[in-house]
């Protein structure tokens, strides 16, 4: 049976009224979970598993996977409208998305994000159908050594996030790396910089940190004027302009590819995918200075990558039986609870189920688009709430969101600390994005290096032994050199 026949069979399964309903419910729940603070995609998927226990296996899996990639849509909404990331991977969208909202382009940002997400998700699903085998082989090429080099490449893109002052960007990057060191170290497993607090043993929780740096800092800044003077973001046209659409094509295409590839690699998170997409878009762009001021590319790329990653992460589950991220691990638990062991043999044993679920990914992505586009009008109306009330609502959701990550008030304190810090940093004109990039990539980088050393028992040449790793490292060096030259040239030009 070739792929086309399988897919047709799959559609016949997925288009049954019951399965369509499950796909719809899953998509709706997923979006809701993405919008709501305090529930990340993993927790949200987990808590709905018992509900699906009474459904037939195919329906249950359809619904759960729909929830999974649906959460990516929801997270965008609060990032754009309120500068509060709905979940980790949407954090980068705050930077340009919120700026766009302030300029009255919120509807545009959300629409492009929805369309990009749809294209990204569909692309990843097509990749799953036709290229599952070769793509999986690519994913397997990434061991600790290649991972480390990939992280180095990601960090080298940091230079591109610099903006006006390279010095300040570097300081933020280094600071972020130091923050990444908090927790149990990968070498000894002893606590490092935890001040005796158990909650820090696993490192800083990412969501409270970004909620503070973005959301709370923003509110503190607004508090400088009387709150009734602050206008909520303006409600402009809901439809993107032709220029915006044109500008989004490239980022969406690249985001789809990047997101799918990164989703394949176990250990690569959606946040990494969206951040790397942002950094890449800024590096490639002819007008990098637009980033941070409301560039549509800064929304289109990451949001597409985000969704492509979520769908791409499902590939290893089907081809290798390995969950590529914690949320997919929850999904895998659902498979097991339904008596199904995910893996390549499932294609032979239960072709109807497997292809039905895959076909439902297409349907789910379409449903999400249909669900979310009209809703944009409603979400954007939320901006009409007077800021004197809105700010309190935002703070409430931030408290719940920070608390809900680990059921701990400590995370609320972290959020407050970083809120204050973000506020001060803005005053001194420090860019926030580098902290986040290094905070995301840092822990993994150190851990991967440690593993590489364990593999080679201390021999650094292992980093160059693999051609893939060597290539990544060389590209990193090239990027670093060209970025430095460019910034030196720019500052010379400024002085002249």
């Amino acid at each position: 049976m070739d792929a086309f026949q399988n897919i047709l069979m799959g559609f016949s399964v997925a288009l049954s009224p019951a399965n369509l309903l499950y796909a719809f419910l899953g998509s709706a729940f997923g979006t809701l979970i993405g919008v709501l603070p305090g529930i990340g995609p993993a927790a949200g998927t987990a808590l709905l598993i018992p509900l699906t226990a009474r459904l037939p296996p195919t329906g249950a899996i359809i619904m759960l996977t729909a929830i999974f990639y649906g959460t990516q849509y929801g997270g965008t909404i609060t990032s754009v409208l309120l500068n509060v990331p709905g979940e980790a991977a949407s954090a980068i969208t705050c930077i340009d998305g919120y700026k766009m909202a302030k300029k009255g382009r919120a509807g545009s940002a959300l629409s492009i994000a929805a369309i990009g997400s749809f294209i990204g998700g569909t692309f990843a699903t097509i990749a799953l159908i036709f290229l599952a085998g070769p793509l999986t082989k690519v994913a397997l090429e990434f061991g600790p050594v290649e991972f480390f080099s990939l992280m180095v490449l990601g960090l080298s893109l940091l230079m591109g996030l610099a903006g006006k002052s390279m010095l300040k960007a570097l300081m933020m990057g280094v600071f972020g790396l130091l923050l990444a060191m908090i927790g149990m170290d990968p070498v000894r497993g002893s606590p490092r910089f935890t001040f005796g607090r158990m909650e820090l043993m696993d490192g800083l929780n990412f969501v409270p940190v970004i909620m503070g740096l973005f959301g709370l800092a923003e509110i503190l800044e607004n508090a400088e004027e009387t709150l009734s003077n602050t206008t909520s973001a303006k409600v402009g046209s809901l439809v993107p302009s032709r220029q915006e659409v044109k500008d989004s094509v490239g980022p969406i295409a690249r985001g789809s590819l990047l997101g799918t590839l990164l989703g394949l690699i176990p250990g690569m998170t959606g946040s990494m995918a969206s951040f790397l997409s942002y950094s890449m878009e800024k590096k490639i762009s002819r007008h990098p200075e637009r980033f941070g001021e409301g560039a549509i590319e800064g929304v289109a790329g990451p949001e597409t990558a985000n969704n492509a990653h979520a769908n791409g992460a499902l590939i290893p589950l089907f081809t290798l039986g390995i969950p590529a991220s914690p949320t997919v691990a929850v999904l895998m638990g659902a498979f097991l609870m339904n008596g199904l062991i995910p893996g390549p043999f499932l294609f032979r044993e239960q072709p109807q189920l497997v292809w039905g679920v895959i076909a439902s990914f297409f349907i789910g992505n379409i449903m999400l688009l249909i669900l979310n586009l009209p809703l944009i009008g409603i979400w954007v109306k939320m901006l009409k709430i007077p800021y004197t009330i809105l700010f309190a609502i935002i703070l409430t959701f931030m408290v719940i969101g920070a608390y809900g990550v680990d059921n701990s008030a400590f995370d609320v304190i972290i959020m407050i600390i970083f809120g204050f810090l973000g506020y001060v940093l803005k005053k001194f004109d420090f860019p926030i994005a580098p902290i986040i990039l290094t905070l995301i990539l840092g822990p993994n980088m150190e851990r991967s290096l440690r593993r590489a050393m364990e593999m080679s028992q201390g021999d650094f040449s292992i980093l160059f032994a693999s051609p893939l790793s060597a290539a990544l490292l060389i590209v990193s060096v090239i990027i670093l050199i060209t970025s430095s030259l460019r910034s030196v040239a720019t500052s010379r030009r400024q002085k002249a």
């Binding site: 061991g143 000894r188 497993g189 097991l336 028992q457």
Partner: protein
């Protein structure tokens, strides 16, 4: 206007009664109708530890007729949840999952700076023995444990073996293997089964140390071969796989998952909880769900689990300094 003073009195009296009511819990009526039990799980929702706990919680609800709420407090390899269990009120309404050797290591290794000691807990019951396994790729030259050990003797510290984390049960299993056979491996610590398994399949490491539940999928698809299982008996989930003992190495390893209450919980209540767990594990749907996840039920009551709990320290004592090399 005299009603002001009277009103105050009534309010105080009502509050006093409520306070009394809330602190009055007797073993005769445990668990009180409508009062929920809290099961603390120090691992992320959806993982195999959490899944096993939730299955049990569901079974206990049926047996006891009260709600059993699973509360996840993941972090620091379970240490955060363990601290909460130790510090909870010892009235039987709060208890939690404990994974050996993990929890014992956190107690005995001073670098972990645990806020609890062995005697801060009242053991309730053992639920699962998830035996350790050693696996290699299907195309690997190693067909038995002996093949691997012989090669390790010839090339010390060259064979890479993965674990799912520093100081986990899998790590200790390999340390014990090194001790018993006089061999040395390049031990590589990942964080969890999926990254480690990916590395195995991607030919980045030579052998995989983990639990039965980790390898079921890849075994079924024929991508890996399990060299041995670290238990007294062969596992029903791994047909044809010999124990390490049968292959000449008396190695027992894996995760032993049970439940603890804070010390000071009355024995009568502990027994009620333990008995409820036993009955839950005998329910058909609980047995079926555990089997689907590859979790082998092994129940021990308060006395049985307590003796394991008290002796486990000696088993891992020597391995802790080794694990820090």
């Amino acid at each position: 206007m005299k009603s002001n003073g009277f009103r105050k009195f009534v309010v105080l009296a009502v509050l006093a009664c409520l306070a009394l009511v809330s602190t009055n819990v007797g073993a005769q009526t445990f668990p009180a109708k409508g009062k929920a039990l809290t099961m603390l799980v120090g691992f992320a929702a959806g993982g195999s530890s959490d899944a096993g706990a939730r299955i049990l919680a569901g079974g206990m609800e049926k047996v006891l007729g009260t709600k059993v709420e699973v509360v996840n407090k993941a972090g620091a390899s379970g240490q955060i949840a363990y601290t909460m269990i130790a510090q909870a009120k010892p009235d039987g309404y709060t208890f939690g999952l404990a994974s050996l050797p993990g929890i014992m290591v956190s107690i005995m290794d001073p670098e972990r700076k645990a806020a609890y000691k062995k005697d801060d807990f009242q053991p309730l019951a053992l639920q699962v023995v998830d035996a350790g396994v050693l696996a290699v790729r299907a195309d690997s030259p190693y067909k038995t444990v002996k093949d691997l050990v012989d090669d390790a003797k010839a090339r010390p510290r060259k064979i890479t073996v993965s674990t799912t984390g520093l100081q986990t049960g899998d790590h200790f299993s390999i340390l014990q293997l090194e001790q018993y056979t006089g061999t040395k491996y390049a031990i590589v610590h990942f964080d969890g089964a999926s990254t480690a398994m990916t590395a195995l399949l991607g030919k980045k490491i030579d052998a995989y140390s983990g639990n039965i539940g980790d390898v079921l999928s890849q075994l079924k698809s024929g991508e890996i071969r399990v060299l041995g299982v670290m238990d007294k008996e062969e596992s029903p989930f791994l047909p044809g796989v010999k124990t390490f003992e049968a292959q000449g190495i008396p190695l027992l390893g894996g995760s032993w998952r049970g439940y603890l209450a804070p010390a000071g919980t009355p024995i009568a209540i502990a027994n009620i909880l333990s008995d409820a767990m036993k009955k839950a594990l005998e329910l058909d749907d609980v047995k079926a769900s555990m089997a689907k996840l590859g979790l082998q039920i092994r129940y021990m009551d308060v006395a049985g689990y307590s003796s394991i709990w008290n002796q486990y320290g000696t088993l891992v004592k020597d391995l802790i300094p080794l694990s820090r090399q």
